[in-house]
Amino acid sequence: MTIDPRAPISCEDARALSVDLLYGELDRAEQPRLERHLESCAECRDQQAGHQDVRKLLDRWRPDPRIDEVSRNSRRTWWRVASVAAALFVGACLLGTRVSWQDGSVTFSFAATAAVEEQTDLAASFHRLIEAAHRESNDRLRSLHEQILIELEQSERENDAAGAALVRALERRLVRERREIGAMIGRLARAAMDESALTRNAFHRMGAPIAREARGDKR
């Protein structure tokens, strides 16, 4: 498409071109059209000049010096991503646990573990770590569920409304429990992240305390 440099343009078009000019994106072919508009339109001319000053002011807002620390710590960042990925993954699995009240009985359903592609050694060990943490955490939740079921039987509630109220109370308890497990895994992930010289072996070892804590063992 050829542009007629003498064809007049609207203020709206001039503003788009003016913004292009401001950020160095103006097509050379468009420049005469913008210039002609600015020559004849005082309002656009004034705004163009004002915007140029504003742009300079905006440059005064420099990034926080701590923002650059990441690039100097990129190795740590990678491990941080991996360890937090493990924690979040487990958290998501736990959140997939549901309680439902149907036909007078309480059902707990467990989310299936999403498959993580085993692409490499590292991904595979990462996967095993996640699996172990997930299994252990779910075991802990399962035993809580069993305990709750026993309590339910003992309470001998037959009324649906009362049953539903009880389920809500149980759900709250489960939420608390999940939050606790999530926080625990988060703490471990943070501890791992703070360890500056994390090696592949250290990453493996990280799985053990997660599993231990998930079981509720005291060291």
């Binding site: 503003r15 003016s18 913004v19 994106e25 504003v54 005064r60 937090v84």
Partner: protein, 177 residues
């Protein structure tokens, strides 16, 4: 020098080294972007972390053009955080906290009153205009890319930028050089 494109391709083919290199290359950029929205270094790092995790866990084919996708994830996460901040009414005199817990940073920020005013003025823009300003002015992306990230026409991105600059001009008139 390996390009982002090449790194993303290797990442998709399952190379964990490529993911590590992507993290190295992208973490600072994503931190900087999120920080412009949130004004808080730790929160910005959380957002970057979440975005990179999503890259790790997202179905490979679902992310489209990866660099656009990563920016979009960060913008959306920041929007969510800013919205919930507003809902909680927990903004301390403006949405941007230019200085956080670090007293050294607070000092540096206080020394540059203009920077503080600019940060506040940008934060006070309507969301749609603020997004364009942050991506264009501070992330230094082309209008075409800004438009792609925000899923709007490039002409819309430019007119939002124009309106935003007009508002900022009024807002910052006392700082004018």
């Amino acid at each position: 020098m390996t390009t982002d494109h090449e790194l993303f391709r290797r990442f998709e083919n399952g190379s964990p080294d490529a993911f590590q290199a992507l993290v190295r290359s992208w973490a600072p950029r994503l931190d900087a972007l999120a920080w412009r929205f949130l004004g808080d270094v730790e929160e910005a790092r959380d957002v970057r972390q979440t975005a990179l995790l999503r890259l790790w866990t997202a179905p490979r084919a679902a992310t489209g053009r990866r660099t656009t996708w990563l920016h979009r994830v960060v913008v959306n996460l920041c929007r969510d955080r800013l919205r919930s901040r507003r809902l909680r009414g927990r903004s301390d005199g403006g949405d941007v906290r230019i200085a956080s817990a670090d007293p050294a940073a607070a000092d540096a920020a206080a020394r540059d009153e203009v920077a503080r005013r600019v940060a506040e003025a940008v934060a006070s823009l309507p969301e749609a205009e603020r997004d364009v300003v942050v991506l264009k002015q501070y992330a230094d992306l082309s209008f075409a890319r800004v438009a792609e990230i925000l899923d709007i026409p490039a002409t819309t991105a430019k007119s939002r930028m124009w309106r935003a600059l007009a508002k900022l001009r009024v807002e910052l008139k006392e700082c004018a050089p």
